[in-house]
C-alpha cells in the first residue's frame, strides 16, 4: 500500500543499526566503570555491565559476551528489546547531566560478535541423570532450559507452536528484534543439549500427568492466553494485535494493512501494531484508549516513538460498535468516558458519558488489549493470584515439583522479556538444588 507521499516509510527492518567497531570503542571508553554499578542493580538479570563494557573497550569481545551470557542467556534478545530507559540506562550515573551510556547497543555489539563468528561459550554440564520438562519455549523456558542443561540435566522443551522463541519470535516487532536473532538463541539452547519438541500442546498431548510420570521436575513457561473479547457488536471484524505482528514478522503475504487503521489499546503491543500499520503504508493510524495518557501501560519512550511515527490518539474513548458495510469496516463507534474511582486493576474506572458517541473512520481495526490468563493453571488446579500462576520464592507452584516463570506468573509489575529470563535462570537454580539435594 502506498504512502500519500509515495513508498513506504522506512519499512520494518531493525531500527537501530549495529554500532561500528569505532563507535563501540568510543562509547565503551566513555563508561566510568562504576563500582557496584547502579546499571547492574537495575538490570533484572544483574548483568555485570561495567565488566562487559570494559571488555569491549579492551577488545575482548569473547569475554564481554561471556560476562553477559553468564547472567542472561538471552543477551541478544534483551540487548534489543529491553526497555533500557527504565532499567540499566535509566540508572546510569551519567544520565542526570550527560547522556547515559548506550548499554543496550553495546550489549548487542558483543552479542552480534558471538552469534556472528564466535564459538559457543558454554557446554552442557556433566550429566546428572535428572530429567526436566519445560513447557513453553519463550524467553523464560529457553532461559530455564539452557541453565539446566549447563548444570547437566536432561531437558525436553515442549512448544505448542512450530518455532521456539515465544514472543521474541512471534510477538516483537522486527523493528526491535529480527526473527533470526530469536531463532539463533533457540538454536544455541538446542546446542546445549536441550531437546525441542515443537508442535506439542501440553495438556492434550502429552498430558501433564504423563510428564509428571516421566520427568523429575516440570517448569511452566506458558506465557499468556489469547486476547480477550471486547464484547461489542461487529467484533468479528477486529483483527487480533498479536496476529497482526506475527504476520508482519513471519508472513507479510498474509498481512493486509488498511489505509485508515484504528488500534484499540495503549500498551506496548498496541504501539507495535500502530507502528506496523504506519510503516507498511497506512495513511492514518489512530490509537483508541479508554483511559488517559497517564494510565497507558506503554513505556514513555515507546509513546514518544509512536508519536514521532505520526500516530494519532483518542484518549478517554471506549469502543462500542464496529460499523461495517458488505464485510468492509467503515468506522469504530466509541463513547467518551470520564475516569471514576479505581477498579480492581488499581486504575480509575472509565465511565461512559451519555450521548457522547463519536465515529472514528476506519477501514481496519486492530485490538491489543492484553491477554487472557494462562489456561493451564486451572487445568492443573494450581493456586493462582489474580489469575496468574502463584509461585513461591523458588518459583515453585502450589504443586510440588512443578515450577513456573515468565509472563504466566507476572501478577505484579510489568511483564518483560528480561524478567522472564531472570525467572527461568532462578527457577533453574532452584530446580537444580532440589534435584541434586534429593538425589
Amino acid at each position: 500500500m502506498k504512502d500519500s507521499w509515495g513508498g513506504n516509510r522506512g519499512g520494518l527492518q531493525e531500527l537501530l543499526p549495529p554500532l561500528t567497531i569505532h563507535e563501540a570503542a568510543v562509547e565503551a571508553a566513555r563508561c566510568l566503570m562504576c563500582f557496584d554499578a547502579p546499571c547492574t542493580h537495575a538490570c533484572p538479570t544483574h548483568i555485570d555491565i561495567p565488566k562487559f563494557i570494559k571488555k569491549i573497550a579492551t577488545g575482548n569481545l569473547r569475554g564481554s559476551a561471556r560476562a553477559i551470557l553468564e547472567s542472561n542467556l538471552l543477551g541478544a534478545t534483551c540487548a534489543r528489546v529491553c526497555p533500557v530507559q527504565e532499567l540499566c540506562e535509566g540508572a546510569c550515573v551519567l544520565g542526570s547531566e550527560h547522556k547515559p551510556i548506550s548499554i543496550g547497543r553495546l550489549q548487542r555489539h558483543a552479542m552480534d560478535y558471538v552469534y556472528g563468528k564466535g564459538p559457543d561459550l558454554f557446554q552442557p554440564g556433566k550429566a546428572t541423570g535428572k530429567r526436566v520438562a519445560v513447557i513453553g519455549a519463550g524467553p523464560a523456558g529457553l532461559s530455564c532450559s539452557g541453565e539446566l542443561a549447563k548444570l547437566g540435566h536432561s531437558v525436553t522443551l515442549y512448544e505448542r507452536r512450530a518455532l521456539g522463541g515465544g514472543l521474541s519470535t512471534y510477538g516483537i516487532i522486527v523493528l526491535r528484534e529480527p526473527v533470526e536473532i530469536a531463532l539463533a538463541e533457540v538454536a544455541m539452547v538446542q546446542r546445549l543439549g536441550v531437546r525441542l519438541e515443537s508442535g506439542k500442546d501440553v495438556g492434550n498431548e502429552p498430558s501433564v500427568s504423563d510428564l509428571q510420570a516421566n520427568f523429575d521436575a516440570l517448569f511452566l513457561s506458558v506465557g499468556l492466553g489469547s486476547t480477550p473479547q471486547l464484547g461489542i457488536s461487529g467484533e468479528e471484524f477486529i483483527i487480533d494485535g498479536l496476529d497482526y505482528i506475527e504476520r508482519s514478522k513471519l508472513d507479510q503475504s498474509r498481512l493486509t494493512v488498511g489505509n485508515d487503521v484504528v488500534v484499540i489499546g495503549a500498551g506496548n503491543t498496541a504501539i507495535d501494531c500502530a507502528t506496523i500499520a504506519r510503516r507498511l503504508g497506512a495513511e492514518r493510524v489512530t490509537m483508541v484508549y479508554r483511559r488517559s495518557e497517564n494510565e497507558m501501560t506503554a513505556y514513555p519512550h515507546e509513546y514518544d516513538f509512536v508519536k514521532r511515527e505520526g500516530v494519532g490518539f483518542w484518549f478517554l474513548a471506549q469502543p462500542v460498535k464496529v460499523h461495517a458495510e458488505n464485510g468492509a469496516v467503515k468506522a469504530l463507534e466509541c463513547v467518551r468516558v470520564q475516569l471514576g474511582a479505581a477498579d480492581s486493576s488499581g486504575r480509575p474506572f472509565p465511565q461512559a458519558i451519555p450521548g457522547s458517541a463519536v465515529m472514528i473512520p476506519a477501514d481496519q481495526i486492530v485490538k491489543a488489549i492484553g491477554q487472557h490468563r494462562p489456561s493451564l493453571a486451572s487445568q492443573l488446579s494450581l493456586a493462582t493470584e489474580k489469575g496468574f500462576i502463584r509461585v513461591n520464592a523458588d518459583f515453585e507452584t502450589s504443586v510440588t515439583g512443578i515450577f513456573a516463570g515468565g509472563d504466566c506468573i507476572r501478577a505484579r509489575g510489568a511483564a518483560s522479556t528480561v524478567m522472564a529470563v531472570q525467572d527461568g535462570k532462578l527457577a533453574a537454580r532452584a530446580i537444580h538444588k532440589r534435584l541434586v539435594n534429593h538425589g
Binding site: D36, G90, Q422
Partner: protein, 461 residues
Amino acid sequence: MADLSINFAGIRSPNPFWLASAPPTNSGAQVHRAFEAGWGGAVWKTIGAPVLNVSNRYGAWHFGNQKMLAINNVELISDRPFDVNLREIADVKRAWSDRAVIVSAMVESRPEAWHDVIRRIQDTGADGIELNYGCPHGMSERGMGSAVGQVPEYCEQITGWVMEVAKIPVIVKLTPNISDIVMPARAAVAAKANAISLINTVNSIIGVDLETLEITPNIGGRGGHGGYAGPAVKPIALNMLAALGRDSIVHGSGLPISGMGGISTWRDAAEFLLLGASSLQVCTAVMHYGFRIIEDLCDGLSNWMDEKGFATIADVAGRSLHRVSDFKDFDLAFKAIARIDQQKCIRCDLCYVACNDTAHQCIDLIDKNGCVVPPGAYDVCSNGKADAVGMRPRVVVREEDCVGCRLCFNVCPVEDCIAMLELPPDRPSVTWDELSTKQREVTEDWNKMMQYREKMGIHIH
C-alpha cells in the same frame, strides 16, 4: 592587556610561543604559514649531517578516547639539502623581521664541522642557534644528539667550539634521557652558552602489535626506540625544568630557559612559565591540530595573565619555583582530608573502591537509614531504575580515619565534587629534616618512632 612579547637571551618575539625544532618547521613554506597563524618564533628543524629517513616513522600512544596522548618518532634531522634549508631560513627571516627564527644544528663532533655550520647559519640572518644534544634515536648511534647530551663533558666541549665563532645567541637543548638533568645544564653554563632549552624527547617503544607480534610502528619487520613527546611527558618536563631552576649554578648563571615537553594548551604554557621557562616550544599539539592552536595559546594566556594581574611574561616566569621542595622540607604536620559533596556526587563509587581496595579504607557506603552497608546490598529480585537509583547508598568519608592521601580526589569524575579540606594542624610544624637533626633516633628506630607518634597523637590506622 598583558604584554606577551619576550626578549629571550636577546632573541625577541611578539609572544613566547615558538614551534619546536621538529617536522612542523621542516620548510620555509611551513614556517611562513605558522607565522601567518601567529606563532612568535620557530626553531628550524635541525640541519646538519646528511641523512635518510624511513616510512612508519611516527608511532602514537592513545588512551581511551584520547588520541595522541603522546607521539613517538624515529625521524632524523632534516633530510632536505643543507643549502636549501639555509636559503629558506634567509627567505623567512627577510619576510618576518619581528619573529624569532632559531636554527637547530647537529653535526659530527669536530670543531671545524661546528665552526662551519655555525658560520653558515649566521649568514642567513637567523636570530639564534639551538644545539641539538637531545635527539635519542638514529643520530645518537652516529655519536650526535643525545650521545652528546648524555655526557656533560662532551656537552661542554662542543658548546665551547660553538661559542668560539657564535655571534648570535646559542641555546643548548638538553636530553631527558639522563639520570640528572642538572649536569649537562651546568656544562652549558660552563661553556658560556646563552640559554638552555628542555626537554628533548624521551626514549620509548610505543608498543607491540598483538596481531602480528611486530613492534609498533612496524618498519619493514623491525621497530625500535624512538623519541617520546606530547601531553604524557609534560610532568617529566616540568620536573626537569624545576630542577634547573633550583640548582644554584644553573639558576645563578641567569641563563634563560626555553621550556617544552607536552605543551598543548595555554594552561600548560602558564605552568612552564611559573616553573621558570621564559620562552615556550610546542610540537606534538601542532602535529595533532595544526598551526591554528596558536590563537588560543596566546588568547588564553593573555586572559589568564590579565585576571591574575601579570603584565609581562617576566612577571610570571619562575613565580612558583620557590614552592618546589624536597620531601625532607615538607611540613609533616600539614593536614588535609577528603570531603565529598553529596549534591554533586553521581554515586559512581569509584572513590569507594579506590580507597577500599588500594588506599586507607576510610570511605563508607551509607544507606537511607544512616547504616553502613556493604556493596551490592540489594535483593536479587530488586531491579529497575527507581530501585537502583533510590536505594543506592551515599559514599561518605570517615574523616577521623582519612589520612588525606588524595586518591579519591584524583579518581572522582565530577568537577569539584571531592574537596581536599585543609585542617588546622593538630601538632607543631616539623619537617623530616628538622626531625632527623633534632631527634635523630626517631628517624632511625621504629620503637622510638612509635613513642614519638604516641606523644604527638599521630594515629595511623
